[in-house]
């Protein structure tokens, strides 16, 4: 019974964390783009005259979206048209289950992992769920019975499947270098030291792999440099026929993907919840000396570091989204198949050679 309650609480907390961060990210996106472009950004939404830099804007947006008409065109395949946004949302949101937020803590005689489900095959699970997200786009495009939507859906399918290959290849190198597919073991492993003084983070073991992973993951989020499925200015994309909260779900899925990609990048390449040189009982610096900390403080620091790293990567992705123009379709395919896939293979080869020679 208590086990069940603990699992339930974890699921709830993870979802709340994810959705709150999503709402916050819509605000960050508005503000960061504004600051990049020498503007101020949305700052008018207020509660009792309290503006707080427009922090209430996400709530205003959510309320607006809820009260908008959910228009249901007469020519759609109704069931699939309604199913697509939920499928899309679910496939992305469920991947948060595999992400470890912090180390295992001991609470009242129990050992509680700070993560919803510490899966044996965490990395393949996340990849599989992200690939399943393609179905949401394809079904949305097909069920809308609209040429532009279908075009967007097809583009989305082609793009996501191509970049899935590069993403998988980049992670194979990582899996060779790391001992496990389990996310928490990967993070534990990154707590060690490289050459005796550097934190053994994935980025230092797999710099090329991280490059391939990050570009492919950016394409997976289908945001601006890779937003061909949407292509706001040419075809409106797979959500042409969506409105109201269903469209809102698609938009939220985009932000969820940004968060998930940040979580993955942090967990696999930037040490997850590890803080450099912070062990279970305080800092142990390689140049000697240290700083003892109580266990609770260490856990708080580690969870905080995970959140900060995730926020940094979300910000980085938003920065990239507001920097680059959209790829042309053939350029996108070239980048995927002629650059990222060979680089991924090269990375596997190099990693395998290094591991074999060692």
């Amino acid at each position: 019974m208590t086990e069940l309650l603990i699992v339930l609480a974890k699921v709830l907390l993870a979802l709340v964390w994810l959705l709150c961060l999503t709402l916050f990210l819509t605000w960050v996106e508005r503000k960061e783009s504004a600051v990049i472009q020498d503007r101020i950004g949305a700052n008018r939404a207020s509660v009792f005259g309290l503006r707080l830099f427009g922090l209430f804007q996400p709530f205003a947006d959510a309320i607006k979206m809820m009260f908008k008409e959910d228009f249901d065109p007469s020519f759609t395949r109704r069931f699939f048209h309604a199913l697509a946004p939920f499928l899309s949302f679910f496939c992305v949101a469920v991947t948060i289950a595999a992400v470890p937020f912090g180390p295992a803590i001991r609470l009242g005689g129990r050992i509680i992992e700070l993560g919803v489900a510490d899966l044996e095959a965490g990395i393949p699970f996340v990849l599989a769920m992200l690939s399943l997200g393609v179905y949401g786009i394809l079904i949305a495009g097909w069920a809308s019975n609209n040429r532009f939507a279908l075009l967007g859906g097809m583009r989305g399918a082609a793009q996501l499947i191509s970049y899935e290959v590069a993403l998988g290849l980049s992670l194979i190198g990582l899996v060779i270098a790391f001992p496990s597919l389990r996310m928490s073991s990967v993070v534990e492993f990154q707590g060690g030291l490289l050459f005796g003084f550097l934190p053994r983070w994935g980025i230092l073991l797999q710099p090329l792999g991280f490059f391939v992973f990050f570009v492919a993951a950016l394409a997976e989020t289908k945001r601006v440099p890779f937003d061909l499925p949407e292509g706001e200015s040419e075809i409106i994309g797979f959500y042409t026929e969506y409105s109201g909260l269903k469209w809102g779900l698609f938009m939220m899925t985009d932000f969820l993907e940004v968060i998930i990609v940040s979580c993955l990048a942090v967990t696999l390449y930037f040490g997850g919840w590890q803080v450099p040189w912070l062990g279970p009982d305080g800092f142990r610096f390689p140049w000697g000396g240290g700083w003892d900390l109580p266990r609770a403080a260490v856990v708080v620091l580690q969870v905080l570091s995970f959140n900060l790293k995730v926020l940094f990567f979300c910000g980085l992705q938003i920065l990239l989204r507001w920097t680059y123009p959209r790829f042309r379709y053939d350029q996108l395919m070239d980048l995927g198949w002629k650059v990222l896939v060979p680089l991924g293979l090269l990375n596997i080869l190099g990693t395998a050679l290094l591991m074999g020679l060692r």
Binding site: V35, I36, D38, L319, T323, Y324, L335, K338, V339, P342
Partner: protein
């Protein structure tokens, strides 16, 4: 592949430009927020209803009918403004003025702001300097089109 990787430098350069804008502007915003004086504002935005951009002296804003020293309108209903108006939005009705020096005055002077294109020809044509476009009022908006017919009383400011 090598060609694509050759663009990598330019791609990084682009990201550096946007991040420079981000950090420089954030620094300026932070300085302004804590009441310190930033070298330049962090944004070029003018927060419109509260802050207004200064209007140039030659700016053509809402019309006004100029008064004589005794308070009566200067207009002598010569119809030059109504004639020159390309949008045909000025209607003037002439009447006799009790003052023998003036003889004619406008009993009605109507500008249909829904049609006015703010070209300023009426101001240039007026021999009496009776109409000017220097009120600085930019928000000539009404709920209905009929309300956009500004009468003499509305224009005498």
């Amino acid at each position: 592949m090598m060609k694509t990787l050759g663009y990598l430098g330019a791609i990084v350069q682009g990201a550096l430009i946007t991040s420079r804008h981000f950090f420089v502007n954030m620094g300026r915003h932070t300085l302004t927020f804590f009441g310190l004086k930033a070298h330049q504002p962090g944004a070029v935005t003018i927060q419109y209803p509260e802050v207004r951009k200064p209007i140039a002296p030659r700016h053509r804003s809402l019309h006004r009918l100029v008064r004589r020293e005794d308070g009566r309108p200067r207009c002598v209903a010569c119809m030059l403004c109504a004639t020159v108006c390309p949008s045909e939005c000025i209607t003037v009705e002439a009447a006799e003025d009790p003052d023998p020096e003036v003889q004619r005055t406008a009993s009605r002077y109507t500008i249909d702001l829904a049609r006015c294109c703010f070209c300023g020809f009426c101001v240039e044509a007026c021999p009496e300097d009776a109409i000017r476009m220097d009120t600085g009022l930019l928000e000539a908006a009404e709920r209905s089109r009929a309300d956009l017919l500004y009468e003499k009383e509305d224009l005498l400011r």
